[in-house]
């Protein structure tokens, strides 16, 4: 009696082994099996992520970034770590052409860190092309304690415009105040000598 094993318990054991093996060995194999198709990742590449990394490392080829992302599960930290570690990214196969992977607009790369290349001793008015704006402020009086505008905007270009405006306000207000002070001083001297 004790040696006989009941049929139901055999069936249950077989079922457990079957699902166990399936769970542990076959499940992870399924996605990797799908992965071996021709660059399926190319369809899922998040262009925002490519841009993000490309901004940090403009010297790295954007196609290589996309290729790396397509293979490491679209992980930005893993990609940046790899670039920083000094291991060059793998060259993508020639047939790898993710859609929308156009270079970032040239206008943004042209602007770059501009101040570094400025000639020595250049004044702020000519550096920021404010000569034309000097005329328009000539007649307006800068109110005493005029403040610089502040604020925030939702888009990158609006923020850039706002920043430019604040910068110009600060420079032009200062210039105007200094001119007025010089004029007052000259007037004071004129009166004193009369």
């Amino acid at each position: 009696m004790s040696e006989t094993v009941s049929l139901p318990s055999i069936l249950i054991a077989v079922a457990i082994i079957y699902f166990g093996v399936r769970y542990f060995f076959l499940a992870p194999a399924a996605p990797s099996g799908r992965r071996s198709n021709v660059f399926p990742g190319a369809r899922h590449i998040d262009i925002e992520k490519v841009n993000q990394i490309s901004q940090m490392f403009p010297q790295v080829d954007r196609r290589a970034i996309a290729w790396e992302l397509s293979r490491n599960g679209s992980s930005v930290p893993a990609t940046t770590e790899r670039i920083l570690s000094g291991r060059p990214l793998d060259t993508p196969p020639p047939s790898f052409h993710p859609p929308n992977l156009t270079p970032v607009s040239s206008s943004s790369s042209v602007r770059g860190p501009s101040t570094a290349t400025l000639p020595k001793g250049q004044d702020l008015i000519s550096r920021y092309n404010l000569t034309s704006k000097l005329k328009t402020i000539e007649d307006e009086a800068v109110p005493e304690g005029a403040t610089i505008s502040k604020g925030w905007a939702a888009t990158k270009s609006e923020r850039a415009a706002l920043f430019t405006k604040r910068r110009e306000e600060m420079i032009l207000n200062a210039r105007k105040r200094m001119e007025d002070a010089a004029r007052r001083e000259a007037k004071g001297k004129g009166k004193a000598s009369e």
């Binding site: 940090m56 940046t80 770059g112 860190p113 101040t115 250049q122 990158k156 923020r159 920043f163 200094m178």
Partner: protein, 169 residues
């Protein structure tokens, strides 16, 4: 470990704070958001100093492991900026821009030096007070320090001239 994504996020939030609630006399932000690690900062010269009425412009360059390491700050206008704590090439020498472990002069308190709880705003405010009150213990510009100590009037005259020059006057 350097984490450029973390550094970018931190710089972006500092940019936002400095735009919505800026300290008086300060405008600062990235030259272009495409490179959040290069900023320009504008500081109004404080009243009662020879910088009064002027606008000083500096470039800040942040390391990829900011805020663990401090940025560098370099004045680009007036250029040169004649000050005991500013190198003739415009580079600012101030304790808040020195990493905590690195104290070449052995006189700065750890609390004055850089740590991740400092910020761009604190750097700019420290520079503002440094402009008003130079520290001539370890001059970056020996000529400026000497003139500041021995011939204050001449020093102030020279600074006023440079500040005017920066505004195209």
């Amino acid at each position: 470990m350097a984490n450029p994504a973390l550094a970018s996020r931190r710089l972006f939030s500092e940019f936002k704070a400095l735009s919505t609630d800026p300290p008086a006399g300060i405008v600062a932000g990235p030259v272009s958001e495409d490179d959040i690690f290069t900023w320009e900062a504008f500081i109004e010269g404080a009243e009662g100093t020879p910088f009064e009425g002027g606008v000083l412009c500096a470039e800040l360059v942040f390391p990829k492991d900011y805020p663990l390491s401090p940025p560098t700050m370099k004045f680009t206008a007036p250029n040169p900026l004649f000050h005991p704590n500013i190198y003739p090439n415009g580079l600012v020498c101030i304790s808040i821009l020195h990493p905590p472990g690195d104290d070449p002069h052995q006189y700065e308190h750890a609390s004055e030096r850089w740590s991740p709880i400092q910020s761009v705003e604190k750097i700019l405010l420290s520079v503002m007070s440094m402009l008003a009150e130079p520290n001539d213990e370890s001059p970056a510009n020996v000529e400026a320090a000497k003139m500041w100590r021995e011939n204050r009037k001449m020093y102030e005259e020279r600074v006023r001239r440079e500040v005017k020059g920066a505004l195209g006057l």
